[in-house]
């Protein structure tokens, strides 16, 4: 995690709260977080893009031993999610029991508290994903 730092969290807010990735002009693939080059074809022309907030679980795990700052949440689910446009990201799942999660499950982004940076640090917010509500 590194030392507690307000500006370090602040400068990523745009991308984290709004799910902004980057899209390659050459191959058309998007990725998250946004890079300044394309990680797939090496294309140097990329644009920031708002990513879809819906997707499906393509793999998941149940964390039973947590790193510092997440101890109170165990057991919790972390999933590799494929958004509807094909972009992949790793996110914690919320509003779901671990045993209810399965590969292929449809999920949607939701704004949540992510972690506290120790007793003196700030509280970090961002996106988690929950089962899609129709």
């Amino acid at each position: 995690m590194g030392v507690p730092s307000v500006p370090r969290v602040w400068r990523e807010i745009k991308y984290k709260y709004n799910l902004i990735g980057s899209k390659c002009v050459k191959c058309g693939k998007a990725c998250y977080p946004p890079l300044t080059v394309c990680p797939y074809c090496g294309g140097k022309e990329v644009r920031e893009v708002k990513l879809p907030e819906r997707g499906k679980v393509i793999s998941y795990t149940i964390i039973r031993y947590a790193p510092r700052g997440f101890e109170k949440l165990v057991p919790y689910v972390v999933a590799l999610i494929e958004l509807v446009d094909g972009t992949r990201l790793i996110s914690q799942l919320t509003d779901v029991e671990p045993e209810e999660v399965s590969i292929g499950m449809e999920v949607e982004a939701v704004f949540r508290r992510l972690r506290e940076q120790g007793n003196s640090g700030i509280i970090e917010y961002g996106l988690k994903f929950r089962p899609l509500r129709r």
Partner: protein
């Protein structure tokens, strides 16, 4: 480029060394390596230290100067090389380049990791520093959790059963029984593996490399100056990286960096996978052992478990693998692990592997992985006389 030989090796047992600090462990391994090479510390021209987490776990950086001071290598050029769990293999590559270039003659590469002083949540935090701290760590995923994502996806994609993948851990413990430096020398059964607690589903505790302390060191020098009855040459040495995080990979079951590094090392050594007599590969979790066998070129994708089930990774098989216990049973003192692997390959080529000897082994390979395949080093050693 000059031809490079391994002149000496030294190591400590992997365990919870409550009585030894990071610096003491390093000096013990480095001193043993110098003795094995028949060199005095004053003859060293340079030193590379492989380590991942001294900054977080010990609050100690600047290992080059610290450890040269404690080793008594006054004035030597020295620095830390960090590439997460691949630090050892990557540092070895740097030492190889230093000698091959002709700039330095005698180079010590030593790896050390001191983990047992920290509590579990701090160790999990330290290991997770192998991945993106701005975008992946805030999800709460652990390093074992990232591997668990690969594991579940792999089973679904190739329809491979966990009871076959988990055999890798049973194999490791079988061979560690004959390794006096291994952390766990007890044999285990498949039932024990699959009934052990889940750490990050589907990964069980007994499918995961343990937490331990250790140090390992090798001395490299010009081939033409190596003495002794057996000479071990560094025939191929390569490092490759991949997009850091799994979410930036198109296929999370294939480690592109292993493919790239191994093909380059095979090319340098002028060998093919079928020529390799023994390998030490980075099975930090059982699933990684399976994937490594595939990506190193010994099995097709999805078929790695066949090698394990059919006894092909045992002595006498097609690709004898991890014959000193692998990461699961020899242990995984992170920054030192890649150098333990290389020492184990040296023992095989020197004919010093005891009960775990592959008779007549001439070519050996060591593969060391950092992150979930984010950095991979592949080194190929050859016995030249």
């Amino acid at each position: 480029m000059r031809r490079v030989a391994i002149l000496g090796v030294g190591l400590t047992e992997v365990k919870e060394h409550w009585d030894k600090s990071l610096r003491k462990l390093f000096v013990e391994a480095a001193t043993a390596a110098l003795k094995d090479a028949g060199l005095d510390v004053n003859q060293l021209d340079a030193m590379y230290v492989a380590n991942m987490s001294s900054g977080y776990l010990q609050g100690q950086e600047h290992l080059g100067s610290l450890l040269s001071t404690w080793l008594g290598a006054k004035g030597i050029p020295a620095c830390k090389i960090e590439a997460a769990c691949a630090s050892g293999g990557v540092a070895f590559h740097q030492a190889f380049l230093a000698v091959a270039s002709g700039l330095y003659d005698y180079v010590l590469v030593g790896g050390v990791e001191k983990m047992s002083d920290a509590i579990t949540s701090d160790i999990l935090t330290a290991l997770m520093m192998a991945d993106d701290q701005d975008y992946i760590a805030p999800t709460g995923v652990t390093f074992v959790g990232l591997n668990a994502l690969v594991y579940r996806y792999y089973m679904a994609k190739y329809r491979v059963r966990q009871e076959d993948i988990a055999l890798m851990a049973v194999h490791d413990h079988e061979y560690a029984a004959n390794n006096p430096y291994a952390q766990f020398r007890n044999r285990i059964t498949l039932d024990q593996v699959l009934s052990s607690p889940l750490v990050a589903d589907p990964i069980h505790l007994l499918e995961s490399s343990p937490i331990g302390d250790g140090a390992a060191a090798l001395i490299l020098g010009p081939l033409e100056r190596s003495k002794g009855e057996v000479v071990v040459e560094v025939a191929g040495s390569s490092v490759a990286t991949d997009n850091l995080s799994l979410q930036l990979r198109e296929d999370i079951t294939t480690m592109y960096a292993t493919i790239k590094a191994s093909r380059e090392a095979y090319r340098m050594a002028k060998v093919e996978p079928k020529d390799v007599d023994v390998i030490e590969m980075h099975d930090a979790f059982t699933i990684l052992g399976v994937i490594n066998l595939e990506d190193l070129g010994f099995a097709e994708k999805g078929k790695g478990v066949e090698l394990i089930k059919e006894g092909e990774i045992e002595i006498g098989g097609k690709v004898p693998s991890n014959l000193f216990g692998g990461l699961k049973a020899r242990g995984h003192p992170v920054g030192a692990t890649g150098l333990y692997q290389l020492i184990e390959v040296v023992w095989q080529l020197r004919g010093e592997a005891g009960k775990n000897q592959v008779e007549g082994a001439e070519i050996g390979l060591a593969q060391n992985v950092g992150g979930v395949g984010s950095t991979v080093s592949v080194n190929i050693l050859r016995r030249v006389k």
